[in-house]
Amino acid sequence: MYPAPIDEYVRPATVSDALAALGRYDEGDAVFVAGGQSLMQAVKARLVRPRCLIDLQAVDGLSGIDAGADGLRIGPMTRYVEIAGHGGLGGAYGALGDAARHVGDRQVRNRGTMGGSLCWNYVAACMPPVAIGLGATLELTAAEGGARSLAAEDFLGGPLETAREENEILTAITIPAAAGNAGSAYKKWGLVTDALPVIGVCVSLEVADGRCAAARVAVGGLATGPQRAGAAEAALAGTVPGDAAAIGAAMKAAAAEIETQQDLWADSDYRKQLIRSLGAEVTRNAFARATGGEAGQ
C-alpha cells in the first residue's frame, strides 16, 4: 500500500530548523522521521497521514554514544547497529546490547534508532523497557529553546503515548553511571526469532558486599505500556547472585503485580509465565555482568 499524499519533505540540519519545520504545520500534520522503521509502516497503512515528513537524518549532534564517568549519553538518532556493535556497553549497560542485537533484523537495525523507538513507544518494543530498566533520562528540547529532562518511566506512557509535547524533540538519552558493581540484561520472547516482544524483561542491579544492593526491573510487551515491577525490585534487594529460589520468588512477584493481556501471541497467564522465566534468566545475566562474569545466552 502507498502513503496518503504528502505535501512536503524536509531535511533540516539543526534541531532548531527541525522544530521550525514542525511549527509550520498544525498539530499532527508534520512528523519527525528518525529511522522510520515503525513510522513508515503506519504511514504506508495510512494510520498516520502526515502532510510533512521532517527527516532527522542530517540533524547535527543527534547521533552517537558518549561514555563518560558520569554515565552514557546516547544521541536519539543512534541506530541499533551502532549500539549492538559498540564495544563499551558491557556490565551496567549490557541490556542495551542485548536488546539492540535482536531488534527486528539486520535491515531494521541498520536504520532503526533508539530515539525513534522511545518516541513511538509501540506496545511490543524493546527499547522502552530497557530505558526504564536502566533508569534513563530523556532530554527534550522545545521550539522556544527550552529544554527539560524526564525519567524514561515518566516519558513513556501507554502504547504509542509519550510525554513529548508537539513542539518538542528528543535530543539526548542519558543513562547514569552505576554506583558500584552493576550489571544489566534484557531478553524478550516472540513466536519467531527476534520478533517483536510478546514480553521483554530488563533487569539492572548493583551488587555490593556480595548481595544485590538495588535493582530495577522493567517489563515491555504490555497493553498498559512498559512497567516497572516494584515488588520484584524490592524482593531482589539483598539477594545473593546464585540464589535461584529468591530470584524465582522475585520474578513471581513481578508476574503477580503486572497486569498482562491476551492477544494473538499469548494469553495473559502465559505472559506471566514469560515474565517469570525471562525475568529469572535476565536477573542471572545481570548478576553475572555485575560480578564481572559473562552473561548467558
Binding site: M1, Y2, V192, L264, D269, Y270, L274
Partner: protein, 803 residues
C-alpha cells in the same frame, strides 16, 4: 559440468534459471508493463457478512487520474456469473453463484465490492479509499459447527443449508449400503482390544508465496485478449475467461510469466479478480493491471487446512490396526472460487486419510460447510495436512496403549506389497514402503536416542523422538482429475528441433520455482545425447504451448518430463529412419542408432555417424529424397498418461527438546527417507524436501489465520501472519531409498506437492514423546509454546497457571 552426455539424468546440474534470478534479470509478473497501462485497485468489504445498502463512488470518480470506477451492479449483466462448467468439478456439490464483485451482499471480510481504474496506482489507492459503502450487518457464520446448526444463518441465501459438499468414501452409493457398512465397521470396533477416539483440529493456514497474485490484460479488437497472469494453469484460465467474458477461445491468450515467485497451489484456482481486470481492459480498450497487495493476498487467498476430524481407530493389543472411522468437518469459507470451490481440499484429504497403512476396513465421511470467511484455496499438502496430522498422532496413541514403540506399530501396519488399493479407493502403483521405512530407521538410531532420553530425563530435561510418513500423489491421473477438477491428467510437451541442432521444449504448465527448465533440459539432453544448455524451455504461454492442466500435484517429474521424453523418442525414431534411408542401411532399425555426445551413431558400425546437427538439419532444411511416407520437419507433441495413478512415499523422524516450564521447544534433528523413484536432479529434489518440510513446520508452529468474533480477519500482514525465518528451522537430512517407477519412461516420480503433510504429526509425536511422563497428547494445531504450556500445566496438575 559433470558427467557424460548420457549421465544428465541423475546429475547435479546447476540450474539454468539461476543466472537471471541472481542478477535481477528475472521477469516476474509485476515487471511486465504495457504502453498506456492503467492500474486497478479493489475496494474490499470491511464486514464479514452484510447487505450492501449503497455504494457512493462520486468522490472516487471525481479524482484526477481516475479512469473508471465499477461496482457489482455495473458488471452483473456484463459478465456471466460463476460457476462455469470448465472450472466446475463433476463431484456432487452445490456451486455458489458469484461475480467478481459482490452483488447484493458481502460474505467475508475482504470480498471485493468495487474497483477503481486509474493512470497511477497511488491515485487508484486514494480513490478506492474514497469509495463509501453502506452496510447493513448480518449475523456472522464463523465456524462449521454453527454453520450446520439448526436455524443457522445462510451464507448463500438461495441454498437450503450451509452444506457445500458431503461424501461417504467407504460405505457405498446408497443409504442402505452405507448403514450396513457402518454396522460391519462397528462390529470390528466392538471386538477390538483398543479403541482410540479423539477430535483432531487443524487451524486455517496455508502457503503465502513471496510473490502475490496479479493480472494484466490487453484487449485488441483484431487479436482479442492477451493476459499475463500469475497462474499455475494458464490453459484452464484461458478457457474459463473465454466462457465468462464470452470471448471466443481462439481470441484468448494467457501467458504465465516465465518467472513466478512461488505458487504452492495458491495460483491454481480460477479467481474472481482476473475476470474483472479482463473485463475492464475490454471495456476501456486499454491495458489494465492488478498487482495484489500482501494484505489482499492474506485476506483473500492462501488459506487452507481448517478441518476437524473425529477419528476412531480400532487396534489389537499387538499393534495390528483393525479399523478406522472418521467424521471430517471442514470450514471452506464462502466457497466462491473456480476449480476448487473450497471443498476439494477436504475431499482429497479424506481420500488420503488412511495413508500407507493397511486398514482391513474403514468408515470415512466428510462434510464441508460454508461460512463467512474467504474460500479455502489450495496449498501444498492439498487437504491432507489435517488428516495426516490426525492419523499420525492416532498411530502414536495406539502405540502408547499397546506399550509398543510407535516406530514398530508403523512398520507392522505398512502396506507391504504394491500395487494396492486403499479403503478409500486410492491406488498405490509401485514402490517399497518397507525399504523406505527401514532406511529411515537405519538413520534414526532409536536405541541410542532412547538411552540419551533416559539420561536426560534423569537430569530433568525432556527429549523426544517422533515419526511420521506419507503417501503422496505423483501427478494426478485423469482417472482422479476428470471427476475431481473436470480436467485431463496427462502431461504434454512439444519438442521442436532447431536446424542448428538445438532443442526447444514447450510446456503448457506454468512453474513457479520448481526448476522445470533445468530438469526437462536434463531429460531431453540425455535423450538426444546433447548438452542441457542446448535445450531451451518455454512455459505457460497458451499461444505457443500444448494444453496442460497446470503445475499442480507434482506433475512435472511424473507427467511433464515423461511427455517430453516420449516426444524425444518419437523424433529420434524419425531421425533414425531417415538416416538409415540416407545411408542405405537397409537392415537398420531405429534401435540401432545411438544418440550420444552430439552424434547419432549406427551402433553396428560406429564409423557410420552424423553429428546431431547434421542429422536434424537435413530433415528440417533439406527435405528432399526422403523415404516414402516421410515428411520434413522435426517437431512432436506427446501426451503422457500412465495407465494408473502413481505415488511417491516418504517417512520422517525428528527429535526435540521441550522446556516444561515454558512449553518452548527446540527441534534437534530432522531426517527424511524418500522414494522419489529415479532422481533427475538431486539438488532440486533435496531443495523440494527442505522447502516442503520447512513449510510444514511453519504451518505447524507459526502460521495461523485468525478471525475475531465478528469475522474480522486479524492476520493480513506478515507482522501477524508469521512465517518461519531462517533462524527458526533446522537443516533437514535428506536420504533416499528409491524404487524406480515402472510406469514412467525414466522411472521418475513427481515429488514435493504433498510433502509437508506428515510434518505436523511427526513434530507433535516428538513433543508428546518428550512429555510422555506427563501423558500430554496434542490434538490441536497450531503447536505453540502457549498452548503446549497449557497442556503441560493441566497434565502436571501442580501450580495454577496463573500465580
Amino acid at each position: 559440468m559433470t558427467g557424460t552426455s548420457q549421465g544428465w539424468v541423475g546429475s547435479q546440474f546447476h540450474r539454468k534459471e539461476d543466472h537471471r534470478l541472481t542478477t535481477g534479470r528475472g521477469r516476474f509478473f509485476a515487471d511486465i508493463v504495457r504502453p498506456g497501462m492503467l492500474h486497478i485497485v479493489f475496494k474490499r468489504s470491511d464486514h464479514a457478512h452484510a447487505r450492501i445498502t449503497g455504494i457512493d463512488v462520486s468522490a472516487a470518480r471525481a479524482m484526477s487520474g481516475v479512469v473508471a470506477v465499477v461496482t457489482g451492479d455495473d458488471i452483473k449483466d456484463a459478465i456471466l456469473p460463476m460457476p462455469q462448467p470448465v472450472v466446475q468439478p463433476a463431484l456432487p456439490a452445490v456451486y455458489p453463484k458469484h461475480w467478481p464483485l459482490a452483488v447484493g451482499k458481502v460474505k467475508w471480510h475482504g470480498e471485493p465490492v468495487a474497483a477503481v481504474v486509474a493512470r497511477d496506482p497511488y491515485v487508484a489507492a486514494d480513490a478506492a479509499e474514497a469509495i463509501e459503502v453502506g452496510y447493513d450487518p448480518l449475523p456472522y457464520v464463523g465456524d462449521p459447527e454453527s454453520a450446520l446448526a439448526d436455524g443457522a444463518t445462510l451464507v448463500h441465501e438461495d441454498w437450503e443449508d450451509n452444506v457445500i459438499f458431503e461424501m461417504d468414501f467407504t460405505g457405498g452409493a446408497d443409504a442402505d449400503a452405507q448403514a450396513a457398512h457402518e454396522a460391519k465397521v462397528q462390529e470390528v470396533f466392538d471386538g477390538a482390544d483398543i479403541v482410540i477416539k479423539e477430535r483432531f483440529t487443524c487451524h486455517r493456514c496455508g502457503v503465502a508465496p513471496m510473490e502475490t497474485r496479479g493480472a494484466l490484460f490487453d484487449w485488441d479488437e483484431s487479436d482479442g485478449m492477451t493476459g499475463w497472469l500469475t497462474t499455475q494453469r494458464p490453459h484452464i484460465d484461458r478457457l474459463a475467461l473465454s466462457d465468462i467474458l464470452d470471448i471466443p477461445a481462439e481470441k484468448m491468450r494467457i501467458i504465465a510469466p516465465r518467472d513466478q515467485g512461488g505458487g504452492f497451489g495458491v495460483k491454481a484456482p480460477f479467481y474472481r479478480e482476473p475476470m474483472l481486470v479482463a473485463h475492464m481492459a475490454r471495456t476501456l480498450g486499454r491495458p489494465v493491471r492488478w498487482v495484489e497487495t500482501r494484505q489482499e493476498h492474506l485476506m483473500a487467498v492462501s488459506q487452507e487446512r481448517d478441518q476437524i476430524h473425529d477419528l476412531e481407530v480400532a487396534a489389537a493389543n499387538d499393534g495390528t490396526l483393525l479399523a478406522i472411522r472418521n467424521r471430517g468437518l471442514a470450514d471452506c469459507g464462502d466457497g466462491c472460487e473456480g476449480v476448487y470451490w473450497g471443498f476439494l481440499m477436504p475431499f482429497l484429504g479424506s481420500v488420503e486419510l488412511p495413508n500407507a497403512y493397511d486398514w482391513p476396513i474403514g468408515d470415512i465421511k466428510v462434510k464441508v460447510a460454508v461460512t463467512n470467511k474467504s474460500a479455502l484455496s489450495p496449498a501444498r499438502a492439498f487437504g491432507e495436512l489435517p488428516t495426516r496430522f490426525a492419523m499420525e498422532r492416532a498411530i502414536d496413541m495406539v502405540a502408547r496403549r499397546c506399550g509398543m514403540e510407535p516406530a514398530d506399530v508403523r512398520r507392522k501396519n505398512l502396506v507391504a506389497t504394491l500395487p494396492y488399493t486403499s479403503i478409500t479407493n486410492e491406488y498405490f502403483d509401485s514402490g517399497d514402503f518397507i525399504k523406505v521405512w527401514d532406511n529411515l530407521m537405519a538413520h534414526a538410531d532409536l536405541p541410542g536416542f532412547r538411552a540419551r532420553q533416559a539420561e536426560a530425563r534423569a537430569a530433568g530435561r525432556y527429549l523426544g523422538i517422533g515419526f511420521g510418513l506419507g503417501v503422496e500423489l505423483s501427478g494426478v491421473a485423469s482417472e482422479l482429475f476428470v471427476p475431481m477438477e473436470n480436467q485431463p491428467g496427462y502431461g504434454a510437451a512439444t519438442v521442436r528441433l532447431d536446424p542448428r541442432g538445438k532443442v526447444l521444449v514447450f510446456e503448457g504448465d506454468a512453474p513457479g520455482g520448481q526448476g522445470h527448465e533445468t530438469t526437462v533440459a536434463q531429460a531431453v539432453a540425455q535423450s538426444f545425447g546433447i548438452h542441457p544448455n542446448d535445450v531451451v524451455v518455454t512455459t505457460g504461454d497458451t499461444g505457443t504451448t500444448p494444453f496442460g492442466s497446470g503445475t499442480v500435484g507434482a506433475r512435472a517429474g511424473s507427467y511433464f518430463v515423461s511427455a517430453a521424453v516420449q516426444a524425444c523418442d518419437f523424433l529420434k525414431e524419425k531421425i533414425a529412419r531417415i538416416m538409415a534411408h540416407d545411408l542405405a542401411l537397409a537392415d537398420a532399425s531405429p534401435a540401432d542408432f545411438e544418440f550420444r555426445d552430439g552424434f547419432v551413431t549406427y551402433t553396428k558400425d560406429a564409423n557410420i555417424k552424423k553429428t546431431f546437427r547434421e542429422a536434424v538439419e537435413r530433415i528440417i532444411m533439406a527435405p528432399i529424397n526422403l523415404p516414402e511416407g516421410e515428411s520434413g520437419g522435426l517437431e512432436h507433441t506427446a501426451f503422457f498418461e500412465a495407465e494408473k495413478p502413481m505415488i511417491a512415499f516418504n517417512a520422517d523422524v525428528c527429535t526435540v527438546e521441550v522446556d516444561i516450564e515454558t512449553g518452548q521447544f527446540e527441534i534437534l534433528s530432522w531426517t527424511t527417507s524418500e522414494d522419489v523413484g529415479q532422481i533427475i536432479n538431486p539438488q532440486i529434489v533435496e531443495g523440494q524436501m527442505q522447502g516442503a518440510i520447512v513449510q510444514g513446520l511453519s504451518n505447524t508452529m507459526f502460521e495461523e489465520f485468525v478471525y475475531d468474533e465478528n469475522g474480522q480477519q486479524l492476520t493480513a500482514d506478515f507482522e501477524n501472519y508469521k512465517l518461519a525465518t531462517a533462524a527458526d528451522v533446522p537443516d533437514i537430512t535428506v536420504t533416499h531409498a528409491p524404487t524406480p517407477c515402472p510406469y514412467t519412461p525414466l522411472g521418475s516420480r513427481g515429488i514435493g506437492e504433498g510433502r509437508p503433510s506428515d510434518v505436523p504429526g511427526t513434530l507433535c509425536n516428538a513433543v508428546c514423546d518428550a512429555l510422555e511422563p506427563f501423558g500430554v497428547e496434542i490434538t490441536e494445531l497450531p503447536l505453540r509454546p502457549n498452548s503446549l504450556w497449557r497442556l503441560i500445566q493441566a497434565a502436571r496438575g501442580d501450580e495454577a497457571a496463573a500465580s
